[in-house]
């Protein structure tokens, strides 16, 4: 690893923004591009689901705990992945405190490209407004000290929600042209929501687009999404953190070419292999395992995964995806703790670089 002179102490926000540009940092930031809400945090600030997904003050209170309780360098108020689909007219299941809201994908709202329609009052939908208001509240609370990350769903994910997974996948094979047409129309929802969140005050945006490795090939990503994701970089002028679950090493080279600021990868991909593939062309956010490590194991196990990421030169550290709602707080606070302690014994190691 490269040795440099020490960087003076940064605020959380400065640290996150620098790491997203692969610039020197005082220590590796800990961020949550995806939710770190838990039922215990909900209790702490009296902001239970589903209320915290639909009420701006509750959403902001719960999001704030990511920094004030867990010690992360960012806050991210969009816990789930359904706001856009709700605003587009999908049927929703809001569930309860200890479960996630979901889209009823077995009752799709669209079948063909001509069905696709982003309503003129899309940004006035209550579930969209809730997010924008929560961002404003967080900006007011944290000023310039903490990074605020928003979230806007990519068109492939919207395709799953609005068409249903199997119909959408079959269409992608039967009629790639039609599929591209659908993606072109749906991306409007992605861009509009992203821009609105920038106006509200976000520093960066997570962009989940679930062209996941268990369902589609890396070539699919290249064919359908790579160019569109590159366009998003100019259409949505804040650092974008692409999130795709599952095994994604076969598409990381393409992702690294999009110009996006960062790629949030999951634990099915090793940090060192991922870092080697992207070769400093994009920042990486990785990749603490959720179902086994964060949910079911102990702080020592969390620490081991954090260290693996740090030793591989991953630029930002965090859970691999939205954490299970019953995850223990002690496992989550271990992440920033482990990062701080590692840096105290690995001084002057920033930024991580693989091109030397």
């Amino acid at each position: 690893m490269k040795q440099t002179s020490p960087v003076k102490a940064m605020t959380s926000r400065q640290r996150v923004m620098a790491a997203l540009k692969r610039e020197p940092v005082d220590r590796t930031p800990v961020i949550n591009p995806t939710s770190v809400a838990t039922v215990e945090l909900m209790d702490m600030v009296d902001a239970p689901f589903p209320h915290a997904n639909r009420d701006a003050p509750a959403m902001a209170r719960l999001a704030a705990t990511g920094h004030t309780v867990l010690g992360f360098d960012s806050v991210m108020p969009v816990f789930s992945i359904i706001q856009e689909s709700s605003a587009l007219g999908c049927k929703m299941q809001w569930e309860q405190k200890d479960n996630w809201p979901t889209v009823r994908m077995n009752e799709p709202i669209w079948k063909v490209p001509d069905d696709i329609h982003v309503p003129s009052d899309y940004l006035s939908h209550p579930d969209i407004v809730c997010v924008l208001d929560a961002i404003r509240l967080l900006r007011k609370e944290f000023g310039d000290d903490v990074a605020i990350i928003g979230k806007t769903m990519g068109p492939w994910s919207l395709g799953y929600h609005c068409f249903g997974v199997e119909p959408f996948l079959l269409m992608s094979l039967d009629n790639p042209g039609k599929t591209m047409q659908c993606l072109e129309r749906m991306k409007e929802a992605t861009i509009q929501f992203g821009l609105a969140q920038i106006d509200a005050g976000v520093d960066a945006l997570t962009l989940p687009d679930h062209a996941t490795g268990d369902l589609v090939s890396g070539e699919y990503y290249k064919r359908f999404l790579m160019d569109m994701h590159s366009e998003f970089v100019s259409d949505i002028p804040v650092p974008l953190i692409l999130h795709i679950c599952g095994r994604t090493v076969d598409r990381m080279d393409y992702i690294a070419q999009t110009g996006m600021a960062a790629f949030h990868f999951d634990s099915k991909n090793s940090p060192s292999e991922s870092a080697k593939i992207v070769a400093d062309r994009i920042s990486l956010v990785g990749n603490i395992n959720n179902p086994e490590t964060l949910f079911a194991k102990n702080p020592e196990d969390v620490r081991a995964e954090v260290i693996k990421n740090l030793e591989s030169g991953i630029q930002l550290v965090g859970p691999e995806c939205a954490i299970p709602l019953q995850t223990r707080i002690e496992n989550l606070v271990e992440i920033p703790k482990a990062v701080r302690e590692w840096h105290s014994t690995h001084a002057h190691v920033h930024p991580p670089s693989h091109t030397h």
């Binding site: 199997e166 996948l169 079959l170 094979l173 268990d214 369902l215 589609v216 090939s217 699919y220 179902p291």
Partner: protein, 249 residues
């Protein structure tokens, strides 16, 4: 011993040459397709390409020409699906392609199934099939079901996300000889062990032979959790079911 050049259909020859790597699978498929009549090879080729309209047309054609339904099933549809299963396992094709092939299989089975049911053939055994709790993937299960039915088994499909209670209720209602569980996610695999434990608690474990399968499942895992058998793909599932049914008899 048959050779690649003995296979009439060029597309099938290319598929075997390009996509099959394991020597035993190459040999088995060459023997198989060399024996199969060209008209059936054509059905298999159309299925592998996911061309459901072509499979539909060719199946109807074959039946009109007097070909036995069982031959169309075995030599056209199932043989073709065998190649699809291998390609999917080796990540040469992904879910969209498999969905298209499954759609093509269904198109052919639409004509075959009624004929087989009407024939009043005594099923070899009754099999319950379900994907375990928390797992929503059913492509592998559906392939197994199609092949099991084509091989003479009566199959009850429990669908996806099958809870232990659903399995147990179904065992009590249908009294099958064999129960098949599939899982496609590593996070749901442990539910197979939990299901078997539930069968013990409910005192039905001894009433049924349990076979398991799915992409992340291994023989070792199946042995650890107390299953009676493991099938690594849809073809192996049928062979296993035949063996377990034989044990029963």
């Amino acid at each position: 011993m048959a050779e690649l050049s003995d296979i009439a259909n060029e597309f099938i020859r290319e598929e075997i040459e390009e996509y099959l790597e394991r020597p035993e699978e190459i040999e088995r498929n060459i023997e198989l397709f060399a024996r199969i009549r060209p008209a059936m090879q054509e059905i298999a080729a159309a299925l592998i390409e996911g061309e459901n309209d072509v499979v539909d047309r060719l199946t109807q054609q074959a039946l009109a020409d007097g070909t036995e339904a069982l031959e169309i099933m075995d030599d056209g549809l199932i043989a073709g699906m065998g190649i699809v299963g291998i390609k999917f396992r080796e990540a040469m094709i992904f879910v969209p392609e498999v969905l298209a092939c499954a759609r093509a299989m269904k198109a052919g089975m639409h004509y075959i199934e009624p004929i087989l049911s009407d024939a009043g053939v005594e099923p070899i055994a009754k099999v319950l099939m379900g994907t375990v709790k928390g797992d929503l993937h059913d492509i592998g299960k559906n392939l197994c079901i199609m092949m099991l039915r084509g091989s003479g088994f009566e199959v009850v499909d429990l669908g996806v996300d099958t809870s232990d209670d659903d399995f147990i209720d179904a065992i009590e209602e249908h009294q099958p000889s064999i129960l098949g569980m599939s899982a496609l996610l590593t996070t749901t695999m442990p539910n197979m062990g939990k299901a078997i434990e539930a069968f013990i608690d409910a005192d039905v474990r001894d009433d049924v032979m349990v076979m398991v399968g799915g992409a992340p499942v291994t023989q070792e895992f199946a042995d650890d959790m107390g299953a009676d058998g493991y099938g690594k793909d849809a073809l192996a599932c049928v062979e296993l079911a035949k063996r377990l049914a034989g044990v029963q008899n």
